[in-house]
Amino acid sequence: MQREMIERAKALLADGTVNRVIGWKAGEFDYDITPAVFTTAEELDAGFLYNDLCAANLSKYLIKESRKEGKILAFLKPCDTYSFSQLLKEHRIWRDHVYVIGVPCEGKVDVDTVKSKGITGICSMRCDGETVRVETLYGEESIKKDEAMADRCLNCKSKKHVVYDELMGEEGDVLDSHRFDMVEKLENMTPDERFAFWRGELSRCIRCNACRNVCPACTCEKCVFDNDASGIAQKAAVDSFEENMFHIIRAFHVAGRCTDCGECSRVCPQNIPLHLLNRKFIKDIDELYGEYQAGADPDTKPPLNTFTQEDAEPSVIYERGGNK
Amino acid sequence: MENKVTKETILRISGVNPRKCMRCGKCSGTCPSYDEMEYHPHQFVYMVENGEIEPLLKSKSIYKCLSCFACVERCPRDVEPAKLVEAIRLAVIRQQGENHLKPETIPEVLNADLPQQAIVSAFRKYSK
């Protein structure tokens, strides 16, 4: 697949369709793959990568890239196309400056998940069919791919590309995932248990803003938390609540717009399962206002910017079962 | 079982709110048994509202109602007079402690032309 993609990219560069290509290249470690823009065939040959470790969602980069001169070729995974489509809906990307090639995704290996399985001193990783071979300081280890994938890939919502100019490989389908299982589990806990759970998670936040910076829904020109006029700009946290407020407001701001790509949890250096906040909103929206998948289509109104006269009253949350 | 049947009992059994009535008389205008009845559908509504239950309990009118529900169907205010008639009937039956129509008597009165619905309705009316 990687070879094919490089060839196609070269061809599009050569015939002048595009003048840049956004894809992935190796970072400091070879399992640490980062997004990159290539402008020549030589650069592509030297650095372009596509494998089961290429996890980053490229759509957010296209906000800036699409505003530049000429067209850019973007390779988008199914997940990324949802974010891309949502950004189009919000007029954030200049569509005619992007040439989208949909590429298949079989789920990405996540280094933190591998580490959590007790493998340490990782030097490099390589996917070999259903097995991941991990080279460590202490010798090679192997782990099943299923065990090396993060939650977002294990509970993949869709293998379908919602936007593309051309497609490589087979088109997939929207999947029946179990992505709300954990949210439901939390909902069924007592408030005390939930409180304990979230205290355990959120107390680790170091407010590095990685979640915000990577999120394809957090694309504000200036974040409200950096906006002096908003009244809540923070130079330094006033008190311990400040970070909670940040996470709640951030989740609220992306509610109805979050495509559930899971980048926030992937990049969190403290491994806080932030996607569980977003999924709670998605689940509530689905249950209260009808199924809604952000980015799935260009026309439906975002659930928070519309209403019906028969909407549930806010008291519905006092009545809903399972969380007494 | 000597409890006095009150307006509240009738309202509870029937689920009817007679205050919704605007006295148009369409129920009585539409009633096919009107001439058989001493008290007419609109009077049931009016009298129940005024608490005049006793005369209704004693009246034969409650057995003249065919349960055709024309009054219920056509009432512009959704008052449902037939349900009041039915409630009075039930109150009488409960006091008497006996059925007017017993299953064993049915074969005698059964007529091939009688619609199924009427039999069910009769059961509802004349038995507990």
């Binding site: 505003r67 919000e90 007029h91 954030r92 694309t219 504000c220 020109e221 200036k222 974040c223 409200v224 906006n227 006029a229 908003s230 009244g231 809540i232 701001h253 992306v254 109104k301 975002p302 928070l304 910017n305 519309t306 | 919704k20 605007m22 006295r23 148009c24 008389g25 369409k26 129920c27 009585s28 205008g29 539409t30 009633c31 009107y34 001439d35 007419h40 609109h42 009077q43 024309a70 056509r74 009432c75 512009p76 205010r77 959704d78």
Partner: protein, 663 residues
């Protein structure tokens, strides 16, 4: 730092009895920025206002906090006082220490403490207040009247008389509306056509009035003083400017079997038609549903006989765009569909008719030339039953919950006229209540009973069964006699409820005007602003606002016209300055705010920006039209970046109040 003055009102003892006003003044004196703090028995009195004015001058105040009654009471008073003293009126904030403090609390220390907190919150807000200036928007001196019935006609005539141009948009080929179909009008029994058609002609001849007949409003943009309206002129396949209304085409047209809507389908018209003799404009219209030429391309007879050469089979719908300063809605009513009332056999028998059909049957221009004949066999009816409240006052879901208001009177009129013209006829009227409030109305109804011998029966018809002999078996109750009546009638007339025209709802959406659950337009205030819609610049005339008879309609039409004239007289409108404002440097152009704006006040623009790194960037940014924005603030919450903020109620101001209260 602001220089703030704080003024505590005693309101006699209303505040001072529960709140220690001196303590409040003293406590607030030490708040940051406060340079003056005092109390006075009646701050809203002239002497009180002078204290405020003097302090503004003497202490060079940049902000004022008044602790007094509700801002809904005296905010305007104090703002005006501040303006007189040279302070921007929007630098005044009110702390409500009467309705929301002294009047509800009994404990003096508690109430005093709360009053201090409320004062602090107001001070915190004033610190962030900025002077606001009310913008102005120009007024287009032209009005649009939607609907050309008596309401629309009267409104248009009154506006035109004041010297302003008015356009009437009417969906039918002629103006005139329902009133053209009526025979006589209660309670004076003058003929509807005799009083209406001169007004229709006035409209046509008035230089200030332009009639768009056979047209519809398809789009409304803009705001009070400056609406842009798209009008669809439906193709009538006749050149209006050439047609002389001679009517030869209608005579020659071979397609004569089209149900005549003007006579409610009781007779036929041709495919090319003029609705009635006095139509305005008096031009023919080709009905494309039935014209052979338009359907099959064969015929063309009308074009051949038209000496004016007005027939144009190739005519297309035309869209025109016009600017208006004010819009009057006069969309009127229709009788409800009676399909849900099987018991009255309306669809089974031709001799069960609606009251409007009865009007046509008695009208000289109607299908029977004014002789009352049964639609089924053309014989004179000898027993006529009128049924009132058919679908009115009905909560069962078949009809309407409201009283249609006009039925009692027109039924009395019908009954009376029948008895007058045909004294050998028995006339029964079944009523639930006879409602005749209005000048000479009850006298009129009593005349029908006493002088003309109409049988008024308190009760309702339960069912009507058509008989083999052509009569109608009417079964009804007589509540006063406690009897069930069986009448063999020749004709039954149903007083069907009236409902707003179907075009009203989509129009309300276009105008962002609100409606009640019955699709009647809502007034800005049910008592004090009955002819204005809550949407500025949109006015209501006639039955689109609620059931009413002709005199009421005409007076409301005049009232709406005077409101419109009052608006059009102004050259400029002052806008509410507490409106949304988007910081274009922070705006993402994501369209979230636009989606929640109920007024369509937000648009987007691709704007060039000089970026800090000296590059130029084109960005999509939101622009708020300050004349349209009403300042609800829905957009401010939809905006994730906080670029959208509301003047006078900004994020930081509200946050400052929260902080002050929670301190």
């Amino acid at each position: 730092m602001q220089r703030i003055g704080v003024f505590i009102c005693h309101c006699g003892t209303n505040i001072a009895a529960t709140v220690d006003v001196k303590a409040v003044a003293e406590a607030l004196k030490h708040e940051p920025g406060v340079v003056f703090s005092t109390d006075y028995p009646y701050m809203c009195s002239e002497a009180g206002q002078n204290i405020v004015k003097d302090a503004i001058r003497d202490y060079h105040l940049s902000g004022v906090v008044i602790c007094s009654c509700s801002p809904r009471m005296h905010e305007a008073t104090f703002r005006k006082a501040a303006a007189v003293a040279g302070l921007n009126p929007y630098m005044v904030e009110i702390a409500n220490i009467r309705e929301q403090c002294s009047w509800i609390h009994k404990d003096i220390p508690q109430a005093t403490e709360k009053a201090i907190t409320l004062g602090k919150a107001a001070i915190a807000k004033v610190h962030l207040n900025a002077p606001l200036y009310a913008g102005e928007s120009p007024v287009v001196k032209r009005a649009l009247v939607i609907g050309g019935g008596i309401a629309g006609i009267q409104t248009a005539l009154d506006i035109a008389d004041a010297g302003f141009p008015v356009d009437i948009v009417e969906t039918k080929p002629t103006i005139g509306g329902k009133m053209t179909q009526l025979d006589k009008t209660f309670p004076t029994l003058d003929c509807a056509a005799c009083i209406l058609t001169p007004k229709m002609v006035d409209c046509a001849q008035n230089e200030n009035i332009k009639i768009y007949s056979y047209s519809e409003v398809t789009d409304v943009k803009g705001f009070v003083g400056n609406f842009t309206v798209t009008i669809k002129r439906k193709a009538r396949y006749v050149d209006e400017t050439k047609c002389t209304g001679c009517g030869i085409c209608t005579e020659k047209c071979p397609m004569k079997k089209v149900p005549n809507e003007f006579n409610l389908g009781m007779n036929n018209r041709s495919a090319v038609y003029i609705p009635f003799a006095q139509a305005v404009p008096k031009v023919a219209t080709i009905d494309p549903e039935h014209c052979n030429m338009l359907k099959k391309g064969k015929c063309g007879l009308c074009a051949k006989v038209c000496t004016a050469g007005a027939i144009d089979y190739k005519q297309k719908d035309e869209f025109i765009e016009e600017q208006y300063g004010a819009i009057v809605v006069a969309t009127g009513y229709n009788p409800i569909n009676l399909d849900k009332f099987d018991e009255f056999a309306y669809s089974q028998s031709k001799d069960v008719i609606t009251s409007l059909e009865f009007e046509r049957l008695t009208n000289a221009a109607g299908p029977t030339s004014g002789t009352l004949l049964r639609p089924s066999d053309g014989k004179h009816p000898h027993t006529i039953v009128f049924v009132q409240c058919v679908g009115s006052r009905d909560t069962s879901g078949c009809g309407k919950e409201y009283c249609s208001k006009i039925c009692c009177m027109y039924t009395a009129k019908h009954a009376m006229l029948t008895r007058e013209k045909y004294p050998d006829t028995d006339v029964y009227v079944f009523y639930i209540d006879v409602r005749t409030p209005g000048k000479s109305f009850d006298e009129f109804y009593r005349r029908a009973v006493e002088q003309y011998g109409v049988h008024y029966i308190k009760g309702m018809v339960g069912k009507i069964v058509p008989q083999a002999d052509g009569t109608l078996a009417v079964q009804a109750s007589d509540l006063l006699d406690n009897k069930q009546l069986h009448i063999n009638a020749d004709l039954v007339v149903l007083a069907a409820a009236i409902e707003p025209d179907k075009s009203a709802r989509p129009l309300a959406t276009m105008l962002t005007a609100s409606m009640d659950t019955n699709d009647f337009f809502t007034e800005a205030h049910p008592k004090l602003r009955p002819v204005e819609s809550p949407t500025a610049g949109v006015f209501l005339s006639g039955t689109c606002q609620g059931p009413k008879d002709i005199p009421e309609t005409v007076s409301q039409a005049g009232a709406a016209a005077s409101k419109v004239i009052g608006l059009l007289c102004k050259d400029k409108l002052t806008c509410n300055p507490c409106v949304a404002h988007s910081d274009e440097w922070m705006c993402n152009g994501c369209s979230a705010c636009e989606k929640v704006c109920p007024y369509g006040a937000i648009t987007y623009e691709d704007k060039e920006f000089r970026m800090p790194d000296r590059t130029t960037a084109i960005r999509r940014v939101a622009i708020v039209n300050e004349a349209v924005c009403q300042g609800c603030g829905a957009c401010t919450v939809a905006c994730p970046s906080g670029a959208m903020d509301l003047k006078g109620f900004s994020n930081s101001q509200i946050m400052a109040e929260v902080d002050a209260i929670c301190k």
